[in-house]
Symmetry: C2
C-alpha cells in the first residue's frame, strides 16, 4: 500500500499503528521515529519496525506516508522540522485528539508538494509507551478525519483505506465540531476523572487503604481514566481550551443545582435528574457502543458481557 | 442454615440474595416480600423464591432471618411496620449503601428480642428489578458490616457465614467511617457521573447523535454509572448528605484549580496534577481490585484482560 512509512512518536498509538502496518504488510519499509533513545532501543529489541531512528529528518526521507503520533502541542514543531526533507506527494497525517489547533499549527509549515490529513483515532488504553501498543487497538473503533476544503481528495481516500485495514470505522467531520463533540465525550470526562482522583489523593492520609479497597463502587472507573498519559492530556486541555472551559461552565451549573437539591432535601429534583440520565445509556447500547451486562430477561444464567467495543479500557482521547 | 428467610424488596440486590440462598440451599423456606404486585408476579413466574407476598407482616412471620433490600430512606419505616410480627431471636439485616442513617432509623423500632446487623454489599449493576439479579452477584465482592457496640456477636457471626456462602469478603467498619469512605469511592463518583451525563443531555439538541457515537472516549463509562436506580441514589444522597457535601466541596476546589490552570495556560500545573493521579490506579491494580489490560511487557500478543472483579459493571453503590 505504501513504500516507506515513518511514524513519528512511537508510543501507545504510534507503535500500535506500526504493529498493524507490519502485521498486515501495508508498507515495504516501516520506520519508527522517536526522540527518545530508550524508545528506539525498545523498538529494535521488540522488532516493532524495520528501522528506528531519533532523527526526524532521516526518518521521513523518501517516505510516501508520515504519521505524527505526538502530543498535540508538538505537531506543528515536528512539521516545521521535517518540511525541507519531505518527498514529493508525501501524505502527512496525525493522531491528535484536538483537530483545529493541529490544523492551525501545521498548515503554515506544510510545503505545497505535501498533503496533510488531520485524523483522530478514538482508541487507547491508560498505558503509554511502545510496549503498550498492540495491532488490534483500532479494530471496531472510530477514526475521525477533519479535512479542510483544500485537502486533496485522493490523499483522504488513501488514508481511509489504510485505517479500514486497521479495522477502524471512518467518519468525516468539521474540525471545530470534532473539538466540541470530543470535548464533551472525552476531554471533559477526563478532566472530571483527574479531579476526583486528585481529591481522593488529597484525602489519602485520612482514608488510608480503604479508598483502594472499596474502589469498586464507582471510583475505580475514574482511576482508569485518570491514569492516562499526563503530557498528552496536558496538551489536549491547553489546545481545546475554549470548548473545555465552556463545557466545564455548563457542568458546574448542573453540579451546583444538584448540590443545592441535596442541601435543601429536594428528593423530587434528584429523582427527576437521575431518571433523565438513564436514557442516554440505553441509546448507547442500542447503537452498539456498549452491551448489556447479561443475557436477556428470563434467563437465570449469567453470561459475561464482553464484546469487542467493551473489551478495551475506556481511556481513549 | 436458616429455617425461614424473608427478603423485603426483591429488586436487583434482594433477588440476587434470594437466588443465591435458593441455589445454595441455605434456607428451608425463602419468602420474597415486595409491595409491588408486578414484582411478586415475576418472582412466582420465574420461581425466584418459594413464596411471594406483598404483605410485610405475613412475609416476616416465623422468620429467623429478615433482610431489607429497600431504598435506604424506607428502612426505618419497614422495621416499624414489621416490629410486632417478628419471631423471638430473629436476625434483621439490610443492604443499604448508607449505614449511620439506617442505624438511626432502625434502632428506635427494634424490639428487644430481635438483632439488627447493618450490612452493605458493594455489588450491583446499572440494572434494576427482580429480572436483573443473579446469584453470583456477590462473588469476590466486599460486604461491609457496621455493627454497634450493642450488636449481638453471635448474630454477626451467623450473617458473616451467610455472606461467605455468597462468595463475599467481609469487612467490619464503624458506620460513620463507612459513610465517609463510600461517600468518596461511590457516592461522589455517582453524583459526578449523573452531572456530566445531565450536561450532555442538555446539549443533545446541538450535539445530536455524535455524543452517542463517540462515547467511547470516556463518556461511556459515566453513562453506565449514571444509569443506576434513581430512587436508590436519591436516598443515598439525602441520607449521606454531610459527607457528600463535604467531599463535593473539596472536589469543587480541585476542579476550580484545574479550570484556572487551563484558562491561564499553566502546563506545569496540569502535568503535575495528572501525574499524581496515576499512582492511584497502580495501587488498585496491585491490590487486585483491577487488572492489567494486557500481557506483561515484552509480549506482542494482546490478551483480553477480564477477570472476575472486572467482569461486572462498576455501578455499585
Amino acid at each position: 500500500m505504501f513504500k516507506r512509512v515513518a511514524i513519528i512518536g512511537y508510543g501507545l498509538i504510534g507503535s500500535s499503528i506500526g504493529r498493524a502496518i507490519m502485521q498486515k504488510n501495508l508498507a515495504d519499509h516501516m520506520v519508527a521515529v522517536d526522540l527518545s533513545d530508550d524508545v528506539c532501543k525498545t523498538v529494535v529489541e521488540m522488532q516493532l519496525a524495520h528501522e528506528a531512528t531519533s532523527s526526524l529528518q532521516d526518518g521521513v526521507r523518501d517516505c510516501d506516508l508520515v504519521i505524527l503520533a505526538v502530543p498535540v502541542l508538538q505537531t506543528g514543531n515536528v512539521v516545521a522540522a521535517i518540511k525541507d526533507h519531505l518527498a514529493d506527494g508525501v501524505i502527512i497525517s496525525d493522531t491528535g485528539s484536538v483537530k483545529q489547533s493541529v490544523i492551525d499549527d501545521v498548515m503554515p509549515h506544510l510545503p505545497p508538494h505535501a498533503h496533510f490529513i488531520p485524523a483522530h483515532p478514538i482508541a487507547g488504553t491508560e498505558y503509554s509507551g511502545p510496549e503498550a501498543g498492540f495491532p488490534e487497538l483500532f479494530e471496531n473503533r472510530w477514526c475521525i478525519f477533519t479535512p479542510t476544503k483544500d485537502t486533496d481528495v485522493r490523499a483522504v481516500e488513501k488514508v481511509t483505506l489504510l485505517w479500514e485495514q486497521f479495522g477502524a470505522d471512518i467518519e468525516i467531520m468539521d474540525a471545530k465540531r470534532h473539538d466540541l463533540v470530543l470535548g464533551l465525550t472525552s476531554h471533559l470526562p477526563h478532566l472530571i476523572a483527574y479531579t476526583i482522583v486528585g481529591t481522593a489523593v488529597d484525602l489519602e492520609d485520612f482514608m488510608g487503604e480503604d479508598v483502594i479497597s472499596f474502589s469498586a463502587g464507582g471510583f475505580r472507573d475514574f482511576t482508569r481514566i485518570a491514569a492516562s498519559d499526563p503530557v498528552m492530556w496536558r496538551d489536549i486541555f491547553l489546545t481545546n481550551k475554549d470548548a473545555v472551559l465552556d463545557l466545564l461552565q455548563r457542568f458546574n451549573e448542573d453540579l451546583t443545582a444538584l448540590q443545592r437539591a441535596i442541601r435543601n432535601d429536594d428528593p423530587d429534583f434528584l429523582e427527576d435528574f437521575f431518571t433523565r440520565t438513564r436514557d442516554v445509556r440505553r441509546k448507547i447500547i442500542d447503537r452498539g457502543q456498549a452491551s448489556y451486562p447479561r443475557s436477556p430477561i428470563g434467563s437465570n444464567r449469567y453470561t459475561p458481557r464482553v464484546r469487542p467495543r467493551d473489551a478495551e479500557p475506556d481511556s481513549e482521547a
